[in-house]
Symmetry: C2
Subunit: 97 residues, 2 copies
DNA sequence: AAATTATGGTTTATAATATAAACTAATTTA
DNA sequence: TAAATTAGTTTATATTATAAACCATAATTT
């Protein structure tokens, strides 16, 4: 009845990041930091974990002389997100059947 | 944009328990254990936390000579659950606006 | 040009969490 | 009466999330 919730996504900040990347397709570190209201340290760690899980790709370049970390979601990331949405909805909707 | 997710409810087992109690209104420990596929230890701890948060009420009685732990949701619990559902939906729906 | 501040992060330390394992206490069964 | 079952609780541990501290380079100020 209650399916296991993907522990990679069942984390407030990682879920927010993936949620953003699903719609945006590509985003900078600073953009994600602003949108999620997170600290740089926390975001850095969670981006690493999402990368290790294969849910996002991270590209490090330079922009206007400053380092730039670009994140984009992978197919696995999209699939995992969609599954998470389905799974958690069984917890949220009264139609727990 | 992304609201804080109530840390009491943003936990797989506690969310499952509250989700059940919202519809069932009252349930035994053993019923919750079966429905959530949890271990007794884990469930015991999470029930304590939900009780401390004021989200559920716990009544301990005896039934057929065995101890029986009855849980029912409180008004605060219902409100918190409804808020959590609203809040996490902003993470789940692409209409992040 | 030296010192200071800002940018864009990473690494480390810590506190909180989730979970399983071990335990308790009473009851039932063999 | 010994073993197993029921219904939990407590304790220990491993994982997490998070903030604090740190690092390197660039830009700015004096």
């Amino acid at each position: 009845m209650f399916k296991e919730l993907d522990p990679i996504l069942h984390s407030q900040l990682r879920l927010a990041v993936v949620s953003l990347l699903v719609s945006v397709k590509e985003a900078e570190f600073t953009y994600l930091k602003e949108q999620t209201n997170s600290t740089a340290g926390n975001l850095s760690v969670q981006i690493q974990k999402l990368k290790e899980a294969g849910y996002i790709e991270v590209e490090k370049t330079f922009k206007d002389n400053y380092p730039q970390t670009l994140c984009k979601i992978t197919k696995a990331g999209v699939h995992a997100f969609e599954k998470y949405v389905k799974d958690i909805n069984e917890y949220l909707n009264q139609k727990n059947k």
